[in-house]
Symmetry: C2
Subunit: 354 residues, 2 copies
Amino acid sequence: MTKNIAILPGDGIGREVTAEAVKLIQVVAASRGETWNLEEGLIGGSALDATGSPLPEETVRLCRAADAVLLGAVGGPKWDHLPGDKRPEAGLLGIRKALEVYANLRPIRTWPGLLLASPLKPELVEGVDFIIVRELTGGLYFGQPKARLDGGEAVVDTLHYTRAEIRRVVKVAFELAKGRQGRLTSVDKANVLESSRVWREVVEEVASEYPGVLVEHLLVDNAAMQIITRPKTFDVIVTENMFGDILSDEAAVITGSIGMLPSASLGEAGPGLYEPVHGSAPDIAGQGLANPLATFLSVALMMRHSLHLPEAADAIEQAVHGVIERGVRTRDLARSGEAFVKTADVSAMVCEDV
Amino acid sequence: MTKNIAILPGDGIGREVTAEAVKLIQVVAASRGETWNLEEGLIGGSALDATGSPLPEETVRLCRAADAVLLGAVGGPKWDHLPGDKRPEAGLLGIRKALEVYANLRPIRTWPGLLLASPLKPELVEGVDFIIVRELTGGLYFGQPKARLDGGEAVVDTLHYTRAEIRRVVKVAFELAKGRQGRLTSVDKANVLESSRVWREVVEEVASEYPGVLVEHLLVDNAAMQIITRPKTFDVIVTENMFGDILSDEAAVITGSIGMLPSASLGEAGPGLYEPVHGSAPDIAGQGLANPLATFLSVALMMRHSLHLPEAADAIEQAVHGVIERGVRTRDLARSGEAFVKTADVSAMVCEDV
Ligand SMILES: CC(C)[C@H](C(=O)O)[C@@H](O)C(=O)O
Ligand SMILES: CC(C)[C@H](C(=O)O)[C@@H](O)C(=O)O
């Protein structure tokens, strides 16, 4: 059976890591005696340069017709001066919205071999293993009005949610918690925001359908503290779009290995969108120094959630685990003075083992 | 010369720490041969219980007539089920708005004797010394509409700023940076929010008046990472209300000593509002276990910023420094097994030394 996968390299190291991921995907297909259909689309700054739009209609069509979408990263200093709707990021927000992938899953885990890279004390981060579920297509990112007022003297952004938007992402989080340790932390700012009070109500409603899941509510400022002081105690965290943006990056850095963190963005039906958590890293782009493993782990999530190939997902995760345990390090993971390998080297090692 | 100081104990340990702060203030007054006028007002849950309002008109009048206001903390589980405008927190937001204290200063520093309490590796936090300036009377906290729509099926909060509101708090931050190391980090989400794009424009405008200050812009998700990976490199950080709420609590916890962190909220004219960063800690309230030192350091800020008594501020800070260096620890600071002293004990030691 063939699969249709859209590949959106984007900008900076996004191009390098997706190029390696294409090899990995082809290894998986070949091992099954299949030939899959991988097609590239433009997004972000490179799409801007080529077409004048950060998200050409052609790319949206390609993604909608695919079983899954793999995205590298978008953005770079070259496009930073452009107005909001002309930035590379508008392409990213646009494809999330076009595919309506409202549940952004970010697994946060530490790797035994990489503990010392964490800024936190090793005893705090050893064994950290939780998932952040971030609402991805609503809230402050998309609410209207988002505009200047009074001849430019004032400005407004709008945090808008419907109960249905909250319920569907909260359900994803409960389902995940049910299949894990059965603990869900919902993060809001219910002591200040009306939207957070509705958020909390919906979580309580959905909770009644999941008697086996233990629910805790944290205020976002408190959550920003707890993620640092007790990262090991979380199982699944669910929160709205902007809080999720901030907390998931905070959580990523405590692992000490942001170059190892994948993400999956899922909707009701239609293709999932898979991307590494790290950005386009313009400072090291084009030098073969990027770590492709977050993208490889994103491919594993794609195998599991969109392509229904759990054994392929396991095989990729085990291969990545293997190279890390053998001490292979890309530059971002190497301690100062330690030897490191290049993007293509570590990629070849993983592809060999899959 | 007499001084008029409004004392708002609030709830939980807020009552205990302000009671000790009153003694400290009286020691300072006595040492100057003066008698100051300290008057208590109701706020938060205890105001709700006594008057039905979290911020009685009487309290607002008292504060407006004062030279400075000292606040303990508000909130507790007893009042958590109440609707938004009836919560203790509404009292806190109300007094900030009534006094228009738009610039919330949160100094973040580590204490040599307390380094090991940090969840971060000691070499990362040793010598951390920066100030977060958080906009306190605008943004998502106060913007209208903040309401349920469509018969409760949707909900909206509004992030609203005027350029004037942004400019005045940004100026406070530049002034601080000028008197410190001359480095300012402005935090926004300019790749997504229109309000952040205006925020960035205003920072650039004001920057032209401060050629000696080096300005850096960070996106909020990136800032949440950098605060953990390179806390020592910051001097002054300025940001809008909600981002400031999240980042300042995150920054507080990396010091390992949130019980030591003071804050000052300042407006154009009128009294400043001083409060410890920690909350009402209902779990330890009433047991004499609270650490009063964040409140004492808030009193020091009050001496400096509102009462124009810099020597008194220095004396308090030195006394606090002294007890910490002598190894005196309240329960929150003690390592497991280490002996600790009670609220009144550490308070008496500081008062003795001032
Ligand atoms: C690039 C930016 C628009 C994006 C976001 O804020 O969602 C990024 O930070 C992320 O988390 O994927
Ligand atoms: C209690 C709450 C309303 C308040 C805030 O969000 O401002 C608190 O978290 C703070 O930071 O002072």
